[in-house]
Amino acid sequence: MAIEVRIPTILRTYTGGSKAVEGSGATLEELFGDLDSRYAGLRERLQDESGLRRFVNVYLNDEDVRFLGGLKTPVKDGDTVTVLPAVAGGAR
């Protein structure tokens, strides 16, 4: 089973520079666990104790997983998961 996961620049230090890696799992949560077993520390950049990190966007194919099931979103062979850090900030 292979799910492609596209990695943003800032997280490529965890993947040895790779911009895309493969993983498996039935849900996003399982997929992140699988990735973390090979790319130690990556999961902590994507989720915290309350779920997906607020300023990290995760997409399943063309949809933002916040509008699907968050970490419980089902994933399957052939899917592409894209991670993009939010672009945000402000005077506050």
Partner: protein, 156 residues
């Protein structure tokens, strides 16, 4: 100064692109304006102005809409581009990165341009590198080039 890395210590920006950023900031005042200038990957040359919706629509916070972010980042990838400049405006404070700006800066290769529209007559326009939580201000060199690869390097 840094040595042994590929970061330039200044932002070279065609005046037409600077004007686009300033116009966008003034138009959205008192909300913060935000956007990107894309350029060929690895060249450090800003060429393509991409104003973004501030999904927060706030006078003190900005955030790219998540679906627009995906669309624009995919488009840059398809075109072999990268975000050379990420800009936003402060509408009541100085054009310097706040703690929030620093904490949320996640594109280590980008020049973070900050504009302040707090004064109705005079805009502040400054640029920074933000890497691993460290802010370094850099010189902004405005060229007469119209940008988008037209003409040569321009005359100051």
């Amino acid at each position: 100064m840094r040595s042994g890395n590929t970061l330039e210590d200044m932002l070279t920006l065609p005046s037409a692109l600077r004007d686009e950023i300033v116009s966008h900031a003034r138009a959205d005042h008192p909300d913060e304006a935000c956007g990107v200038i894309a350029g060929p990957a690895g060249a450090g040359r800003p060429e393509r102005f991409i104003p973004m919706l501030n999904a927060a629509r706030s006078p003190t916070f900005y955030e790219f809409d998540s679906m627009e972010l995906l669309r624009v980042w995919r488009e840059m990838d398809d075109r072999d581009e990268e975000p050379v400049v990420i800009y936003h405006s402060h509408t009541a404070t100085e054009a310097y990165p706040s703690r929030t700006d620093i904490a949320l800066a996640q594109e280590p290769g980008a020049h973070y341009v900050l504009v302040s529209t707090r004064d109705p007559d005079e805009v502040e326009f400054r640029s920074y590198r933000i890497v691993d939580g460290a802010v370094t201000e850099e010189e902004v060199r405005i060229t007469a080039d119209t940008g988008a690869g037209t003409g040569g390097p321009g005359v100051e």
